[in-house]
């Protein structure tokens, strides 16, 4: 069954801005799905319409077979959402915020308290349960919003930049939690600016730009569309001029570092052979950018992903 189906979704704001220009998207049940796009591309508007915080101009939203126009309550009962902006009642206790949210979804009080304990513990917030939300750090507020979204145990969890402003240690524990939630059968839609997060967590991806879906496929297939990668090589000895490496596009970053573009038809062994011939010893090597990030930038900048002459910047 499809967890979510968007059909020709359109949104034009009263000021004339066309935020969505006909989005068609399907997310299968159990998927971990990345919805990516630059700022203002239409991600948050799409999520707003799915969660009924934004009125659509046209189109259809179906959640687990429930049409949002005809069976709004049933559709909404399936969804949990962590919004991009902090939307907490700042003077309420953490435990009350989570228990109340369960109540809005019809979870009886005793069960709501049990679940609040379970999710506040999972998000490392149980010790702060009697504190008010205002006293939490930015990362803690974001974790509280995740606990709040999980308390009614939704079938579809929408996470709109859940790890923004969260330190790396907590982010990694949140990834583990998200994986565990997904493995338990919950469909997750994730938007994030940390593309390595999307690459490591998600199985499918859609990239949205200027109100349109510009890419929608399995993550592995999308990454294969990236026809070349840029590596940064650190050299043991300093060099004055850019070495000539036949067949490779290169750029001198500084006297110790060069950038080399390697297409899918080329291999790195050949590159190292050429470097050895020129008596250049490589101390270390790294990707210039995350693979998904590189593809993402090419797509949203309307540059075809299969060109062998990529940006040199």
């Amino acid at each position: 069954m499809d967890a979510l189906r968007l059909e020709n979704l359109r949104k034009t704001y009263p000021n004339g801005v066309e935020a969505l220009k006909g989005i068609d998207l399907t997310v299968e049940e159990g998927d971990f799905f990345a919805l990516l796009g630059p700022n203002g591309a239409g991600k948050t508007t799409s999520i707003g319409i799915i969660t009924s915080l934004v009125n659509k101009t046209a189109g259809r939203v179906v959640v687990f077979g429930h049409d949002m126009d005809r069976e709004r309550e049933a559709a909404k009962a399936c969804i949990g959402v962590v919004p991009q902006e902090v939307n907490l009642s700042m003077f309420e206790k953490l435990i009350d915020i989570v228990v109340n949210q369960a109540g809005y979804y019809g979870v009886p009080a005793r069960l709501a308290r049990q679940r609040a304990e379970k999710y506040l513990k999972a998000l490392h917030l149980w010790d702060r349960r009697t504190d008010i939300a205002r006293n939490l750090s930015g990362g803690m507020k974001r974790r509280l919003m995740i606990a709040r979204a999980l308390v009614h145990e939704p079938r579809l969890l929408i996470l709109d930049e859940p790890t923004a402003g969260v330190d790396i240690e907590i982010r990694r524990s949140m990834w583990q939690l998200m994986r565990a939630i997904n493995e338990a059968g919950v469909t997750i839609i994730l938007t994030t600016h940390y593309l390595e997060e999307a690459e490591s967590l998600c199985r499918n991806v859609a990239i949205i730009d200027d109100g349109r879906i510009v890419e929608n496929d399995r993550m592995t297939r999308v990454l294969r569309k990236l026809h070349h990668e840029t590596f940064v090589l650190s050299l043991e000895e300093p060099i004055d001029a850019l070495p000539q490496l036949d067949g490779y596009t290169t750029r001198l970053r500084n006297e110790h570092e060069i950038e080399v573009e390697v297409t899918r038809d080329q291999n790195i062994n050949q590159l190292f052979r050429l470097l050895s011939e020129k008596n250049l010893n490589v101390h270390s090597m790294r990707n210039k950018a995350n693979r998904l990030e590189e593809l993402f930038l090419r797509l949203v900048e309307n540059k075809p992903a299969n060109t062998s002459q990529g940006p040199q910047a």
Partner: protein, 282 residues
């Protein structure tokens, strides 16, 4: 074969009916638990910030009783056959109920809208009616809590024997409901803090002061009596005064009709606006 197909069809129809019934029952259960949650949250909010919600009106009303009732009232003597302090007591109680039920809903709903945590309810499967009734109960609770406290203060200055208890109770609850709904309407349209202070300052306070709290409209000239009759608060104050003291400038049936009519109109308007997403959805 045809009979088997018909049986199958009937079974499917039964299942669909049953499934719809289950869905309806579970939606009802969700909304009942949701309503209890909103009510509990609103009542907790009023109790948590009692220094802001309960104490100030009690102090203000005590000053009214001291100045208008005890000090100036003694010189005024009687009004409509009642000691002046007893005459103004129902009006002052009603004034406290009106301002507090209004300000509770307007500040609570607007605060939730401004800080975005109203979204907690908007993304949930709760019906618009549940949200409206939940906030209304919060407003009625604060209106009645402050009204009860002002009554206690009034009893320190004068004797009040309630002549018509059911009328008194029904009027005070209905009026608190009307002004909770008026507060919600204000909060739906409000975009800034100024927007939620304009109505109480420029509409509610003048109408309350001119609504027969401190005087009987029989003191006014016929022209001004006709003008005063356009003020809905006059009907509410007089209906409540009728319940407490048994005297009123307005026939009680007319007052009831107006209060109930206003309540139905405001409740329906809020329901319509919220279901359209006015002021809460982009």
């Amino acid at each position: 074969m045809n009979r088997a197909a018909a049986r199958e069809e009937a079974r499917a129809a039964d299942f669909a009916r049953e499934s719809d019934q289950v869905k309806a029952e579970s939606l009802l259960a969700i909304n009942l638990i949701g309503l209890r949650t909103i009510m509990r949250k609103e009542i907790k909010r009023v109790s948590r910030i009692w220094v802001q919600t309960i104490v100030p009106p009690a102090i203000t009303m005590s000053l009214y009783f001291v100045i208008f009732g005890s000090l100036i009232g003694r010189r005024i003597g009687e009004m409509e056959g009642m000691p002046y302090i007893a005459y103004i007591a129902p009006g002052l109680i009603m004034m406290a109920v009106i301002t507090n039920s209004f300000s509770n809903v307007v500040s609570s709903f607007f605060g939730a809208k401004l800080q975005l945590y109203l979204e907690e309810m908007l993304v949930s499967p709760l019906s618009t009616a549940t949200i409206v009734v939940g906030y209304m109960v919060g407003g009625i609770f604060r209106g009645l809590a402050v009204g009860a406290l002002v009554t206690v203060v009034a009893l320190m200055f004068t004797r009040l024997s309630i002549v018509h208890p059911w009328i008194t109770l029904s009027v005070v609850v209905l009026v608190a409901g009307v002004f909770s709904m008026a507060g919600l309407l204000n909060a739906i349209f409000a975009k800034t803090f100024d927007d939620i202070s304009i109505v109480p300052t420029f509409v509610l306070t003048p109408l309350t002061y001119l609504g027969g709290v401190f005087f009987s409209i029989s003191l006014l000239s016929p022209t001004w009596q006709a003008v005063a009759m356009a003020n809905p608060i006059l009907y509410m104050v007089n209906a409540f005064r009728y319940g407490v003291l048994g005297i009123s400038d307005i026939p009680i049936a007319v007052a009831y009709s107006l209060i109930i009519g206003l309540f139905v109109a405001l409740f329906s308007l809020n329901m319509w606006l919220l279901s359209k997403g006015r002021g809460i959805r982009s």
